[in-house]
Symmetry: C5
Subunit: 94 residues, 5 copies
């Protein structure tokens, strides 16, 4: 999974039928420590994430493994809103 | 998902049997703000997108999760035509 | 999907059982306009493509969505032989 | 699969329902010999890996192929804790 | 699919239950002609490949489409051992 910050919304009235009602957010990739050079992308949100939230995102085919629906044609899903990240400082590897 | 602009069409008479009748469009990747350096690619369209439209595209295995058909061997599907994108200006992160 | 040109063949006698009889071709990625910097890769062909043909290729998990077989462990499938590509010249975007 | 070292933990109370109880670790990619330039990412662990362990990670849609659960929306799974890696020195290729 | 050369082995005693007994090899990516700049990765082998063999590898979700087992959490599978590769020299494209 990938970390990111929600930075916006996307609206699309005309879309594949199965996707009616889904919320699409713009996510800017982040790293556990510092910034990412990856491009922003669009992810589906079902857990109430909003602009400014740091989120955990699943990308690729697995994003469609959502519990209540049939498999949808989506390739990015916000699966969690981050409480905290704890990264060990590197010292004496291995 | 990824934003893009439809810039052309692809015709292929000889193809895998299950793909007869599908429309293939050339999509140039775009970012929520500004241009993308990614290469153009080919996506299936079932919602009536045309040249000049800004679209939302699902790539990878999930593109095959289309409602009415069995799973097809396609790896990019136009899932929406963009009405608007709203991106927050960065100020006071977090 | 991705455009490419067939530039060769690969032979492998010893292989996963389900893959007996499949044809493996070397494909050089191309763009709708101009050349691609991506590396050549190997794709399965079931529609009679040959060296010199410009083809449309599905990559990743969806390549295994072939109609008549069970799902096979392949990640690239030639799905069409290109008749023509029509790309709009950029002028007055949007 | 990809090698990596576990360097931290991620906590997210609010998440997709199916993911309650899963452990999310920060993994720094490694190569069989030497360091990797790839960005750290977040992976699910069910085999008891901890900070400092060198692990084998499956990424993408296959990460969801876990034995006991239905398919979950996760795209990285720690599948093994490395005992040893044995790489041949290059000499007289082929 | 991707070409590569087997350059080593990986051992992991503690792993996801479904993966007991599988052989994990280190594969160095190769191109049909010349060397690749891609990083080595780890692939499952079930066809008896060994160090020094040139192999054909399926990566991503499709690697889990193995005939005899349920779908496993693996993202790279050696599907063939290369006998020969035949690439046309470029002359008079199209």
């Amino acid at each position: 999974m990938q970390l990111g910050k929600v930075i916006g919304n996307v609206w699309a009235t005309r879309k594949e039928d199965d996707l009616k009602g889904l919320k699409f957010l713009v996510v800017k990739p982040e790293l556990p420590e510092g910034t990412s050079k990856e491009d922003p992308f669009i992810a589906v949100d079902r857990i109430g994430a909003g602009v400014g939230d740091q989120v955990l995102v699943t990308r690729g085919g697995a994003a469609a493994n959502m519990s209540t629906e049939p498999k949808l044609p989506i390739d990015a899903l916000i699966i969690g809103i981050i409480d905290s990240i704890d990264v060990e400082k590197e010292r004496g590897e291995g």
